[in-house]
């Protein structure tokens, strides 16, 4: 019962913060609400027994990517853009699309009980970090190395893009 309450709390927090994020006029407020959404997502990860992913989400996403976002927002002048119209002319199409998407998945989940096979709930290894590390360094070694090269390329690209004079 306690885990249900935790799930509903984090889910409600995530959805509310997400809605607030896409509707704010002030970009910094939007960034802060994205931070709360990401923290709520980290809580969901913890509830799913993914403790390594929980800390990785906080360190990388909230402590790294969002700090980058907040820095850039502070370097960019906000006053002019805050007084303009925030939503473009695609509002209604976007709303219709969202409804269609939502209805599709909702119906799929309600109508077809056999849509998702339900194997017996497997017990995950209690040593989550060891298991993830094991998989990363044995089976997924090649994607790991490619990801590090990708990060190197992205770092060089970001530095070149943001320099004043190349």
């Amino acid at each position: 019962m306690f885990s249900q309450a935790v799930f509903y709390f984090f889910a409600a927090l995530a959805v509310t913060s997400a809605i607030l994020m896409v509707t704010r006029r002030n970009i910094i407020h939007g960034a802060v609400f994205l931070i709360t959404t990401l923290l709520a997502t980290a809580g969901i990860f913890l509830q799913l027994d993914a403790e390594f992913l929980f800390v990785v989400q906080i360190i990388l996403y909230v402590g790294g990517i969002m700090v980058l976002f907040v820095f850039v927002i502070m370097l960019v002048n906000l006053d002019v853009s805050m007084r303009l119209v925030q939503f473009n002319h695609q509002r209604f199409v976007a709303g219709a699309l969202a409804l269609v998407l939502g209805a599709q998945v909702f119906l799929a989940l309600k109508v077809g009980p056999g849509v998702m096979p339900h194997p017996a709930q497997q017990i995950m290894s209690p040593k989550n970090t060891e298991a993830v590390g094991d998989a990363l360094f044995t089976h997924y070694m090649l994607p790991f190395e490619i990801a590090s090269i990708l990060l190197l390329v992205a770092m060089i690209g970001a530095v070149v893009m943001a320099k004043r004079r190349v």
Binding site: S3, Q4, A11, A14, V15, A18, V22, R24, I27, G30, A31, L34, L38, T41, I44, L48, A50, F52, L53, L60, Y61, G64, I65, F69, V72, L75, V76, N77, S81, L84, V85, Q86, F87, N88, Q90, R91, A94, G95, A98, L101, G102, F106, L109, H118, P119, Q121, Q122, M124, A131, V132, A147, L150, V153, A154, G157, A158, V159, M161, A162, R164
Partner: protein
């Protein structure tokens, strides 16, 4: 008991809000943040299924997605900064240099 459908619904909700954000907002930085929200929704989905099948591969894939999101955010923000320095605008409608 929290069934996988609950996590799917949550992931769907976040995904939809992210898609609405990308399609509807004019400010480029909010568009980028909505993309991050979409990626997070996918992560929740992956980890929920990883828990369902007792397999750690879903979590490894989620880690790779977070890594890619970091790279993409860095480069995207660099591009936004460079564009802002030249054109003084942050609105996606006004970034139409290549239109005739």
């Amino acid at each position: 008991m929290i069934s996988p459908e609950h996590y799917l619904m949550l992931s769907l909700a976040l995904f939809t809000i992210g898609v609405i954000g990308v399609l509807t907002r004019r400010n480029v930085i909010i568009i980028l943040m909505s993309i991050e929200l979409i990626l997070n929704a996918v992560n929740i989905n992956l980890v929920a299924f990883s828990r369902l099948y007792g397999d750690v591969n879903g979590q490894v894939f989620a880690i790779f997605i977070i890594t890619d999101a970091a790279a993409e955010a860095a480069v995207g923000l660099g591009i936004i900064l460079a564009f802002f320095r030249n054109r003084e605008t942050l609105l996606a409608d006004e970034m139409d240099l290549l239109k005739w």
